[in-house]
Point group: none
Chain length 213, copies 2
């Protein structure tokens, strides 16, 4: 059945954990650990060069942490699937991990069977969670709007035009006001969304449910 073994990259700052994972995974004929990374930066670099099918990524790592590393890994051309591994279930990383695009989330206390199963599952392109994580997800789901910054009507209007890629001058023309006015509104929006520039404002505004793209 194993046409060609699933190539796995293990990223964890503890050598002991890496060795343990390697032992467990290499024991399976259809799995092959092709590399180990001790921090996030290494993980990204090895993912780029080794081109594994699956990356087992620890969340807590020195320097570039697992989540950031996951983001970067998934931006690689033809990226691997990322299976995020963590120690505690309620550290709030689950949602973040899935948001940045991880394919699965596994607890370190999981047994060898589950670990092996998890790698196979994400390898075929499916997503995997532990049951508690699913419940957390379902419960925390309608969070799209809550906690969103409060923009004035005019500010929302301006933001939506910014999101259309219009310059301040064009927005001014569209709204029949001065460019200075638009500049002021944009400045308010940037401050409220804690965005550095209009590009960030568009992305953050979209994620906060303030604009539709």
């Amino acid at each position: 059945m194993p046409d060609t073994p699933v190539r796995v990259l293990v990223a964890d700052d503890e050598p002991l954990v890496r060795s343990g994972l390697r032992l467990i995974l290499d024991a399976e004929p259809d799995l092959e650990v092709v590399g180990e990374a001790g921090d996030g930066a290494q993980a990204v670099e090895l993912a780029r060069t080794l081109r594994p099918d699956v990356v087992c990524m620890d969340v807590r790592m020195p320097g570039v942490d697992g989540l950031r590393a996951t983001e970067l890994v998934l931006r690689l051309p033809d990226p691997p699937r990322v299976l995020v591994v963590t120690t505690f279930e309620h550290d709030g990383y689950v949602l973040d991990a899935l948001t940045v695009g991880a394919s699965g989330f596994l607890l370190k206390r999981a047994g060898a069977d589950e670990m092996v199963q998890a790698v196979r599952t994400v390898a075929v392109g499916q997503s995997l969670l532990y049951p508690q994580a699913v419940r957390d997800l379902v419960r925390a789901r309608p969070r799209a709007k809550t906690g969103a910054p409060v923009l004035t009507p005019r500010e929302r209007e301006v933001l939506s035009l910014v999101a259309e890629g219009m310059t301040n001058a064009e927005i001014a023309t569209a709204l029949v006001v001065g460019v200075e006015t638009v500049r002021t509104h944009v400045a308010s929006v940037l401050a409220k969304l804690q965005a550095r520039d209009r590009t960030q404002a568009v992305v953050l505004g979209y994620r906060a449910g303030l604009v539709d793209l």
Copy 2:
């Protein structure tokens, strides 16, 4: 490795689908189809008497449907895991299925490999979804279109970082290249997307399905 095979109950109103599933699953030495049900009521009854480890449950069934049957099955003493199977991904059943306690959600168009993997995954007590379902859960968002401009891998990578609101200098640092290089890539992206600036590039790239926000 398979101490004792995973006992599976298949519930689907179409005999053809049941036979197909039985063929696929019984071909695996560690899986064993112990029964078939043609509707929800039968599924519940067989789950009670056969005590399978996993129930593959179709959503659409005459009489008691898959979701209701899932609820009932999970109320049995020492209940099996339920893997919900459906044809369409956007029928809104995902959330309902997870809410009533299903362990996983699988599309019928999934290949045999995925099907087998899915059963094994839920058998060891983990939850499973197809990636699209996770994205829907994390953030209900419409999907991308076709006819997207052709960007090189590096250009896509740069664009995704632009979509994070990063400046050219920051992108250069992240990718460990010179700022000049990033400027070149950004220029190519702008030209190909026919965008005037990076903000338009993000919006157009998102609408073309080239970047995730």
